[in-house]
């Protein structure tokens, strides 16, 4: 009985075992809707232990629903995705309002995504998230830095929901290698 209880206790300590693998840290997400399909793209910071520099990957998925699009992305990845550090959610400016609400509901239900993540709009989320970052590891952090310099937007996740999904989102475009607010 003593041996069994010791083994049980020891097994409990191994709970952290599966957390030793490196993960993809999602810094920003982008959602678009065109041609009857949802397009999701995640900007992932790949944390590689073998070299000190982090690399950034753009993961893309398509589907008839957002959930399907995201699951396509997950299937492509060998490592689990760490979504709780996502700071920016970019939506296409052409996305109809009802689909925008679906994006918000998806992000809300995926509880890991913090309510203080910033929503922005852009002409093409995939294009925006695939540009080379200027001053930080990934373009998502660049966008966050830009937004924090202009705090008059009420575009945080909870503010968007609070406004009934009608919040005025800042539009960010890429021009000459830099990021700008438009309008």
């Amino acid at each position: 009985m003593k041996k069994i209880s010791i083994i049980i206790v020891l097994l409990l300590f191994l709970c952290g075992c599966d957390k030793t693998q490196p993960e993809y840290l999602i810094s920003s997400m982008g959602f678009d809707y065109s041609g009857g399909k949802y397009i999701a793209c995640f900007e992932a910071v790949v944390i590689n232990s073998e070299n000190t520099d982090q690399t950034v990957k753009l993961l893309k998925g398509e589907g008839s629903s957002i959930k399907e699009a995201v699951s396509v992305i997950k299937k492509k990845c060998t490592q689990p995705l760490l979504m709780s550090h996502c700071g920016v959610i970019a939506v296409s400016e052409n996305m109809p309002p009802q689909y925008f609400k679906e994006v918000c509901d998806f992000c809300y239900n995926k509880e890991e995504i913090t309510l203080s993540a910033f929503f922005i709009k852009t002409s093409n989320p995939q294009e925006l998230l695939s540009i080379k970052p200027l001053s930080s590891v990934c373009v998502g952090y660049d966008i966050m830095g830009l937004i924090k310099q202009n705090p008059h937007f009420e575009n945080r996740f909870f503010e968007v929901i609070n406004s009934g999904y009608k919040a005025r989102l800042p539009k960010i475009t890429q021009k000459d290698g830099g990021l700008y607010f438009e309008g």
Binding site: L12, C15, S84, E111, T114, L115, S116, R156, F158, E159, I161, N162
Partner: protein, 276 residues
């Protein structure tokens, strides 16, 4: 000995009462399906709680009230424990089996059951200040994002709607206030001490509810499972301190432990009526 306890531990009982009121209500308030009358319902429930408190204080301590106190204590312990464990399982440890979450919690409660209530009093006075500090900190940290219109009431409530908003608070505040009155009376404390503590706890609870409502609005707060936690997660200081809701877990644990502890000692007091 009873006189000595009540003489020495006035401040402690004040802190204990405040934490007791916070209990597990702070985790989930405002409740699901909250609407614009929710805060009003909370205030009315507070008045009802005070009335219940004074009523229970007037009752004599005999075997019948001892049994009722016991049952109420069991209800409060169960309610607080289940709420808290559910929060931990859903929010913090979704992959851990509930048994391993419940077990240490029960061990701590068992430890409390074998000790004197002076230990709980000291714990209350020590944890009261950090809890107040954390609640006030989060309130002022989220102040800049408050939308005052979120608590405006645009029409008069009808009774049915009002009742729906008050009832959850009656269950989570008024009923436990009866247990608080029972415990206060059997421990020899004067009404003033525990009522003051109750008032402080009520104000703190109100601050936490307002925190969520002013930040998220009542509709969204009513949809969130754990609104206060979610409100805490929006507090950021620069790039370094981005998710500070970890501090709230201590508040929840301390207030639940105090609530369960009061229930345990109320049962012990009731048992003394039957077993000399």
């Amino acid at each position: 000995m009873k006189a000595n306890v009540s003489e020495f531990y006035k401040k402690h009982f004040l802190g204990l009462s405040a934490l007791f009121v916070l209990g597990n209500t702070v985790i989930t308030a405002p409740k699901t399906n909250a609407d614009q009358f929710n805060f009003l319902g909370f205030l009315v429930a507070g008045i009802i709680s005070l009335a219940v408190y004074f009523l229970v204080y007037l009752l004599p301590f005999n075997r019948i009230t001892a049994v009722m106190g016991c049952l109420l204590a069991l209800f409060c312990i169960g309610d607080a424990g289940i709420s808290f464990i559910r929060f931990i399982h859903n929010n913090l440890l979704p992959e851990t089996k509930p048994f391993f979450i419940v077990l240490p919690f029960i061990l701590v409660l068992t430890f409390i059951a074998f000790k004197t209530n002076e230990m709980l009093f000291k714990f209350s006075v020590v944890s009261f200040l950090p809890v107040v500090a954390v609640i006030l900190f989060f309130f002022f940290a989220t102040l800049k994002d408050f939308n005052i219109k979120n608590i405006f009431i645009y029409e008069l409530p009808n009774l049915e709607v009002f009742y729906k908003q008050t009832l959850p608070y009656i269950k989570s505040i008024a009923l436990p206030s009866a247990l608080l009155a029972f415990f206060s009376k059997t421990s020899g404390f004067k009404k003033g001490v525990s009522v003051s503590g109750f008032a402080i706890g009520f104000v703190l609870l109100g601050i936490t509810i307002l925190n969520s409502v002013l930040l998220f609005g009542i509709e969204f707060s009513g949809v969130l499972d754990y609104p206060y936690s979610s409100a805490g997660s929006t507090v950021t200081f620069g790039n370094l301190f981005t998710r500070m809701d970890g501090f709230l877990y201590f508040v929840y644990l301390a207030s639940c432990i105090v609530k369960c502890g009061v229930g345990i000692f109320a049962i012990k007091k009731s048992r003394n009526k039957f077993v000399p």
